[in-house]
Symmetry: C2
Subunit: 526 residues, 2 copies
């Protein structure tokens, strides 16, 4: 196999390519399911300060009216596809009047949310690249003609602005449609039997979110980022096992990560798959550990021992590297220059949640070592004991009855939640800790659906199902009531118009890490 390894360096990052693994991943590239979907109505947007982002859509005419409408320079309209889709947009454009004596210049704005139809992209001044905003200005030289827009889009709405024709002709739009794509077999999912209508709706939107993120790989967001992240993959895989059971896609993604570690053997936080497989130079402490977690979940969902055997060294290596960061107290070293993701929460100290994730994944690795009868198991068990003891000795504040993190002894929700998930306290103490957390509400709270997922799962694990359900309804149900067709990357029920990127336009409104309620509902029979 050493023949199949080669090395690629850029200025500051070295990738070791494992061609055998990459070839395995390539063979598992899925066929996409395609569906032709069509707009359901012509709509307009109007201001409404009562709704999220301040914009709502209102039906202006049924879609059947479109074929009758002639558009000239400076006119515009918005089509509503009725649901969120990922795919390829096409249309026919027919001129009326004299033969077109100048090209048609047409601007298309493609968006997931009403705000994208209402606020001009030109004014976007956020921190992420404006190249994620979905917009096309096209020139049509030959009319009538069929137009295939050049990219894959992620949307529910399309705004058409007729920038110019000529005074001699107008245009009619026909057969506007989207070839929607996903690698999820939507028809294969069993509908949820449940008496609670809101849970059924949450389940359905979760599944739609997951499906729209499932393409050649599990993408984090089909509008923005569009790539495979390990932290998202772990959650998508869990939701997939309960729904589509597209287990080969999880396997493919594991091989993609294992195919491009760095020169120390650490897997990257995310990979690009076009034009060819490329490891990003972002490495996150927790995400690398989640390789082991994802392999663990994959094995217990599939019992695919061949894959487990082949990928075990990669998973084990992540634990080894994570353990190398422990200080002599067996605590994950904190510093100003390391990256562990945990959550987008400003000011969140990452030390204690990272320690918890290390413990959480070591337990999973030990289970895998047991299955494989690997000699590393004993050593892992010693390390586990040490890290748990270290955590209790140095990170638990007996006075506050909370885990603290970092030099400033920060009490964050994330630390408590992950320590409960790591399951190092007795059951009753975990339960008390979770209830104390809900009661005391420490200031350093949760920022993302990703972290809310872990909160809900921790509540379930301490047998507080009702509280878990309430939290899920408050958070994901809140999104639905605020108009979500798919679950959003970001949602703060207390500050609905907040974007950490400086603009609501650039948020991803279909995001992988938000798809987990279907997993929680089905797995734990909520």
């Amino acid at each position: 196999m050493s023949n199949a390894l080669h090395i690629q360096k850029n200025d500051h990052y070295v990738t070791i390519y494992n061609e055998d693994f990459i070839e395995k991943a390539n063979h598992l590239k899925p066929e996409l399911y395609t569906t032709i979907v069509k707009p359901i109505s012509i709509v307009k947007v109007r201001k409404n300060s009562e709704v999220i982002h301040g914009w709502e859509v209102e039906t202006e005419a049924p879609i059947s009216a479109l074929n009758e409408r002639k558009y000239r320079k400076d006119e515009s309209f918005i089509l509503d596809f009725g649901d969120h889709y990922v795919g390829y947009i096409s249309m026919n454009i027919r001129p009326v009047g004299s033969p077109p004596d100048a090209p048609l210049r047409l601007k298309l704005t493609i968006g997931e949310m009403p705000v994208e139809m209402a606020e001009p992209f030109e004014e976007y001044d956020g921190w992420l690249s404006s190249s994620w905003l979905q917009e096309e200005t096209i020139y049509v030289d030959v009319l009538p003609g069929k137009i295939d827009l050049p990219r894959r889009y992620c949307f529910r709405y399309i705004k058409f602005e007729i920038l110019d024709t000529s005074p001699k002709y107008q245009v009619i739009f026909e057969n506007v449609e989207c070839k929607a794509v996903t690698s999820a077999n939507i028809a294969g999912v069993k509908p949820l039997q449940h008496t609670d209508e809101m849970l059924k709706r949450i389940d359905k939107v979760s599944i739609k979110t997951l499906a729209d993120c499932m393409q050649d790989v599990f993408e984090d967001g089909p509008k923005r980022d569009r790539r495979l992240w390990l932290g998202d993959l772990r959650l998508q895989a869990l939701a997939d096992y309960e729904t589509f059971k597209t287990k080969d896609l999880v396997k493919r993604c594991l091989y993609l990560f294992a195919g491009v570690p760095d020169d120390r053997g650490q897997v990257t936080a995310n990979v690009f798959t076009a034009p060819s497989l490329i490891a990003d130079d972002t490495v996150l402490y927790d995400y690398s550990l989640f390789f082991a977690a994802t392999l663990h979940d994959y094995y217990f969902a599939t019992k695919d021992i061949t894959t487990l055997k082949e990928l075990w060294p990669t998973a084990y290596r992540q634990i080894e590297l994570a353990l190398a960061r422990l200080d002599n107290r067996c605590i994950v070293k904190d510093s100003s220059d390391w990256w562990s993701f945990i959550d987008w929460k400003d000011g969140l100290n990452k030390q204690t949640p990272s320690q918890a994730i290390l413990i959480y994944t070591m337990k999973q690795a030990i289970r895998l070592a047991e299955v494989l009868a690997r000699p590393e198991k004993d050593w892992l068990e010693i390390q586990l004991t040490n890290t748990i003891e270290g955590a209790i000795k140095y990170l638990w504040d007996e006075q506050q009855k909370f885990f603290i993190s970092g030099d400033n002894r920060q009490v964050s929700w994330a630390s408590q939640i992950w320590m409960v998930l790591a399951d190092i306290l007795p059951f009753e103490e975990n339960k008390e800790l979770m209830n104390r957390l809900l009661e005391d509400k420490p200031e350093c709270g949760l920022a993302t659906p990703y972290m809310y997922h872990h909160l809900v799962e921790a509540l379930i694990l301490v047998d507080e199902k009702e509280k878990a359900i309430s939290m899920m309804k408050l958070y994901w149900g809140g999104m639905i009531e605020d108009g979500a067709d798919t679950f959003w990357e970001l949602y703060d029920p207390g500050n609905k118009n907040f974007s950490p990127y400086g603009s609501d336009l650039i948020n991803s409104y279909c995001h992988a890490w938000s798809c987990t309620p279907t997993y929680l509902i089905r797995k734990y029979k909520l």
Copy 2:
């Protein structure tokens, strides 16, 4: 043949399709010659009130520097291809830095002249459709990648504006090139042997202009309009016979016009050829007559009697229809609602130049009738005598010694020039008239190279070759000195920044009707 005729109507225009003619035209569709051309330097534009439009380019670096340059958000550069081209643009874009974690958003502005690189298209507010301005904003999702821009462009310069990347990567542009296309066999033209360097330069730029307008049909302007006009075709064909001798392309264009007359048999002023052959609903008195003129010139350039026989009825029909507009004095009726082109000159009365063009083309028709031994010849000769007599009796002002036009007895350059070309006065009187015209300079002058062509040809016909050459050097030589790589649609040596469309950006800087100096120089051995 009647089986092959069908009728198509729109609101206000009826076309009779002659499928036999259209099929003949289709069979003559030329193969295009393609050449890969590359930029020669990186340039910048700077203000200079001394030059046309107030902008000039200055070399910033040789093109070899491009591969070394990394561009980030908000940077830009301009490439100069060193000459005017029509074709398809492609490039490779390579990222440097981290793997691209956001698409590249790139704006390309493609122009014939420095002004197009300098003045923002967004501010264009002219009277023609802004859709003619050559601009693309593209999103590149996969890098490195090869980009093929979606349209055919007409240009010398390309401005690249990097609208966005991400902070993690920059881009390098490589292999920027154009697949230049023309149906002209450039290598087949004999170089002009001449002692006058300026005439040699004028000849060369004429030929380049003609070549860039020669595509599937003779186009009027490869940047703007891009279609087959009869008035331009006539002049292009004349220039072609002296240079490329692509006579089948003239034949094809004649069949295209003859293939789609209106329900009275009149040929349109211009046709569209995509998505299929369509007659424009613009009909011009003079342009329809030029069908006969173009057939005449084609026959005498080729002696292709088969085509002449087949297209004679169409040519003859144009004369018949034009004659139907005569009043009982045998003068072309003037009115406020008819269209004869003649020239873009504001306020120009079209009556007398149209009368002259009728006489000019009748004479050609009679020559063709003679070749064909057609019985219509006698009738044409009677009509010719009547229209000449009418012209002299009613349109010649013996006191002013000029032809007058319209109710207001307008003395225009166009009337004198066309009456000299129609050749109804004795040679010496024509010569005196032309000299009187140059001397007296009536106020209603010339607007376009199209009309300047007729001025120069009229001077040649009255044996004022030196004056013809001076005029040609003043006008076409002036364009060259003002930076023309190909001859422009519009040029007023006295008001160089004037655009009849309200903006210099929308002018066509490679225009068919400006290509005739090579014809005049070579045909008349200037």
